[in-house]
Amino acid sequence: MTESNETILSLQHLQKTFGQHQVLRDISLNIKKGEIATIIGPSGGGKSTTLRCINLLEEPTAGEIHFHGENVLEQNYNRNIYRAKVGMVFQQFDLFENKNVLANCMVGQELVLKRSKDEARKIALANLEKVGMEQYINARPSQLSGGQQQRVAIARAISMDPEILLFDEPTSALDPEMVGEVLSVMKNLATTGLTMIIVTHEMAFAKEISDKMFFISDGVIAEQGNPDQLFNHPQNEKTAKFLSNFQNN
């Protein structure tokens, strides 16, 4: 995996409060270009909220998000351009129900990146081929299985040529037999040098793919390091306890 030393994304003391409930207390992390980072941790610990804050689907209550050194929370920062560069794959796929597979992968390119129809189509087809969905370009999302939908969602995201791709538990809503096809697409993607941040419960997958892992619990990063450090030499009691659940399986 190619790594440079350039920090592409940096979260600094991020906080998020929903009403009285503080979900994120203090999240700070750095992602370098080309890094594959996974975020693990117990449910309700703040993993997904962290990811959603990065994409600005949630407005952070406090803290800063730096993209290429610029604070994206500044008033004048162009958020739509930023979002186009930071792609997202959702747990529930969220393909556009009114559009077929091909149009799902083209609409963002045409509207946001202002690519021509032909160019958008070419890129969409190439990416659909990458995820093995090129045969289904005329299908409606509702006609596809969960695994197929998620693969189209990935093609939709990478068609935007993002600098970072966020995955919010991409396999949690899938039937077990479909998890493999999505994970293998993600593994292929990881070899292309794309920066990825993945929230997942697939520990074996995380262990295999990650350059860096973050264990988030109770709204803070309890521990971080490479897979070997977290799985084999956890420093924090919570990390050890959490991971032991998976290793016993």
Binding site: D94, Y136, N138
Partner: protein
């Protein structure tokens, strides 16, 4: 916040209606002096004074905004006046309750409608000298137990009524012991009630009994004007022509014309009018009879078709225009609250304005809206809008108010994930709306939009208040002229049913089309590439 909004809305509605009603009869429209036309308001449904016919025979004059004609005693008087003033007579067909507003709002120059110059009406408009003296009768069936009444007390226990808003209704009080029934809208309704036995009789002028007898010989008129103890003021026993108060010149001119018509001439005119009344084929043609439906079709087919056309026009234009209004309002109401302070206040204000619009038009009957808008605009701004145009506008904004909420609901109920996925791609609010959310929301709203269309086809019948000649209005006219109430309304309902049924089917097809084909053919795709990579990805 929500409940306060509703309070303010309610308050505004009440204030608005108060202002409009309190100004009725105070503000006046200047008479248009030389437009060449003499607009005369009448029901065109009150034989022998006035009625509607489909041709211009016997010197009938055209009814404004339709292809029908009016004739009768009132029309003959109007023509004499028109001739002397060198103005062409045009009839403005208006329901009884709409006559005074039509005059004060400038929709008509004169009311010649068999109207008595009561003191109460004289507060709002001026009256000429009488153009006819009338005697009163109780109309009952020949075989009724009240048919031989000789004194006012002989009507004890009789269920009697009279036309709503007329002086006749008050006369029932003088018939001791009679049971006064609710007043009825028009003579057609009273005739039907008498025949069906829901009332024992009704008070009317002698002319009404003469014309009624021509179609139904089994009725009897009992004169009450000369019975001992019967009191009636001079105003109530005469009919006069109504003119708007500021129109003093016209009043003088019309009085001069009336003075030139001697009593003998008036009687002759009335006799002629009675003989010219429209009759059903059964009474006019002896021997061979067409089936009822065929004869009605021959006589009124054109009217029915144009009624259907008008109903469809109102419903479809209303629904389509209402859809765009609703879309516009629905979109604006779902724009997320802006972050900057000034913009936030502005958007709050706009939202408040739109919710007032929705509450007012959803919360008041369309019939009332029609009356307020059609007569109100003429009264306040002196703009005389065409009644069809007014009807189209009213149906559109009314439908818009309903559809605004339906479309807002459709937008809100689109899954949150669709918004988020679009945002994550970097789309702006407008791009999200137009390309992702609205296509789905509208598809989901389609059943409700169909429903609104169906409702419009039926509910446009209330626009008869401003005399738009849609299907129901045509039906009423036919019923009151043929006196075949049940078959007429049955036919009209069958037509409504066919219209709504057809439209429901059409919309179902559209829905199905939007749903898309459930099956898709892999082989029909443009690109066929089964690569090794594809196989690997599927493993």
């Amino acid at each position: 916040m929500k409940s306060r909004n509703k309070w303010i809305t309610a308050l505004i509605t009440v204030m608005l209606s108060f202002i409009i009603t309190s100004n009725f009869g105070i503000t006046q429209v200047d008479a248009k002096k030389d437009d060449g036309e003499l607009k005369v308001a009448m029901e065109a449904n009150y034989q022998p004074y006035n009625w509607t016919q489909t041709t211009d025979k016997n010197g009938a004059v055209p009814i404004e905004g339709s292809r029908t004609y009016a004739n009768g005693y009132d029309v003959k008087i109007a023509k004499i006046i028109g001739k002397q003033l060198h103005r062409k007579v045009v009839v403005v067909k208006t329901e009884w309750d709409g006559l005074l507003p039509a005059l004060t709002s400038g929709k008509a120059d004169l009311i010649i409608a068999g109207m008595s110059p009561t003191a109460e009406r004289a507060k709002a408009i001026n009256f000429t000298k009488p153009y006819r003296n009338s005697t009163f009768v109780v109309i009952t069936k020949v075989n009724s137990k009240y048919a031989n009444a000789k004194t006012l007390n002989d009507f004890k226990g009789a269920k009697l009524t009279a036309q709503q808003g007329t002086s006749h209704y008050a006369l029932i009080k003088q018939l001791k012991g009679a049971k006064r029934q609710p007043a009825m809208r028009d003579f057609a309704a009273m005739r039907q009630s008498l025949i069906s036995g829901t009332i024992d009789g009704y008070i009317a002028e002698d002319t009404e009994s003469t014309s009624f007898k021509m179609v139904d010989p089994d009725i009897k008129a009992i004169p009450i004007s000369k019975m001992a103890g019967f009191r009636i003021s001079k105003e109530d026993s005469t009919t006069a022509i109504g003119i708007a108060k500021p129109n003093k010149d016209l009043l003088k001119q019309v009085n001069q014309v009336l003075a030139t018509i001697p009593n003998s001439e008036r009687t002759k005119l009335m006799t002629t009018a009675i003989s010219q009344q429209p009759k059903t084929d059964e009474t006019s043609k002896k021997g061979k009879q067409d089936p009822w439906l065929v004869s009605v079709w021959k006589q009124f087919g054109g009217m029915i078709l144009s009624g259907i056309g008008m109903t469809l026009l109102l419903a479809s234009v209303g629904t389509i225009a209402g859809f765009f209004i609703g879309l516009f309002v629905g979109i604006i109401r779902t724009i997320p609250t802006p972050t900057s302070r000034g913009k936030r206040w502005f958007s709050k204000f706009i939202n408040w304005l739109l919710s007032v619009y929705i509450e007012v038009f959803r919360g008041t009957p369309m019939m009332v809206q029609a009356a307020v808008i059609y007569y109100g605009i003429a009264q306040f701004w002196h703009i005389n809008i065409d009644r069809t145009l007014a009807a189209l506008v009213i149906v559109s904004i009314n439908t818009g108010a309903y559809l605004a909420e339906i479309i807002r609901g459709g937008i809100i109920s689109t899954p949150e994930g669709q918004f988020e996925a679009a945002s994550a791609l970097g789309m702006t609010h407008n791009q999200r709306m137009w390309h992702i959310i609205l296509p789905q929301a509208i598809k989901n709203c389609l059943p409700s939009i169909t429903n609104e269309f169906i409702v419009n086809i039926k509910d446009t019948s209330v626009l008869s208040i401003i005399s738009v000649s849609e299907l129901f209005f045509v039906g009423t006219t036919i019923a009151s002229q043929t006196f075949k109430f049940f078959p007429t309304y049955l036919t009209i309902s069958a037509i409504y049913l066919i219209l709504t049924f057809t439209i429901t089917r059409i919309f179902n097809l559209i829905e199905k089309h939007l749903q898309g084909n459930k099956n898709y053919n892999l082989m029909a795709n443009q690109v066929q590439v089964g690569t090794a990579q594809d196989m690997e990805a599927k493993k």
